[in-house]
């Protein structure tokens, strides 16, 4: 129960951040790909710089979680082709809808109902990837 509340609360903070920082705004994503504003680069850049500090502090000092266990950070699988091809495909969808998988939920909650169409077809896309996985280059 405690954990349920914890994860839900982290989600609320994430959702508020996506709206208040406008990272979930279609206009902001359009502007970013036009290189006409620093806003999105500032958001992602600041998050990554602080993220590197947090992650390195955890790894070097073997920090423990809120539950007392040692924090494990599994490396990403070294699938360079899949990262690149998949990344390009996602980038096309990101620039078209202005939404990443996180903001899809945030925007539905904020009342932008057409995002529900994006969500349903994102499920279908994920399903099709699972279906085609054995035949795709990784």
């Amino acid at each position: 129960m405690k954990r349920t509340i914890l994860y839900f609360t982290i989600g609320i903070l994430f959702g508020i951040t996506m709206i208040k920082s406008e990272a979930a705004s279609w206009f902001r994503i359009y502007e970013m790909f036009q290189f006409k504003s620093f806003h999105m680069y500032g958001i992602i850049g600041a998050a990554v710089v602080l993220g590197v500090v947090i992650t390195q502090l955890i790894k070097r000092n073997k920090l423990r979680s809120f539950f007392g266990t040692e924090i494990q950070i599994a490396p990403k699988p070294k699938l360079i082709k899949a990262s690149l091809y998949g990344g390009i495909i996602f980038g096309l969808g990101w620039a078209l809808t202005g939404a990443c998988p996180g903001p899809i939920y945030v925007l539905i909650g904020a009342g932008y109902l057409p995002l529900f169409v994006v969500f349903v077809f994102a499920l279908l896309g994920t399903y099709c990837y699972g279906l085609l996985k054995p035949r795709l280059p990784h």
Binding site: Y7, I10, G11, I12, G15, I16, T17, M18, I19, S21, E22, S25, W26, F27, Y30, E31, F33, Q34, A46, A47, L50, I54, L63, F67, Q72, I73, P77, L79, S83, L84, G86, G87, I88, I89, G91, W94, A95, L96, T97, P101, G102, Y105, V106, I108, G109, A110, G111, Y112, P114, V118, F121, A122, L123, L124, G125, T126, Y127, Y129, G130, L136
Partner: protein, 199 residues
Amino acid sequence: MAATKFTLYLAKITMDLILAPWPWYIGGPTIAVVLFLLLFSEKRFGMSTNLKTMCSMAGAGKKIPFFAGDWKANRWGLLVALGAAAGGFIAATYMTNGSVGLIHPDVVNELSQMGISGAGHQFMPPELFGVEALTEPKTLILLALGGFLIGFGTRYAGGCTSGHAISGLSDLQWPSLVAVIGFFVGGLLMNHLILPYIL
């Protein structure tokens, strides 16, 4: 007297933080806080995995090995997604004074020429995300196509903006850098070469 001024100043900052759009130097660090909280809760920041979890929940694992396994291990991610929707509702309903951040005037002009309004006045373009979009077949096709590309691409790449760009880059992972370069290659292609013709 000075103390009163300081109190008023603090009150103004607090109200701005609640009601006005956040600058990048508030938004970026708050995302890092989310990453921090998830790492210290024994989890990783990654939102696209939820799409796979929901496919598994619906029984896709019976026929496709990719979706097999216990989806309940990823229940936490669904809770984060549910919270994200709640956060979106809270921010859009109670934490706004109706203003949005400035959008570059070139972008505003360019978009209005393409028939997209609302830049710099509204959070989202009504042509794409207003209720009227639900009865416009062309818009529905674009949203469906976009959604499909997001779902297919993130799972193929093994992550999205949170999993690769934030978590992965923070952990200095090479595959994540490659994926982020991919995000931008795809995004620039869509934004500059495809969107002008399909919007």
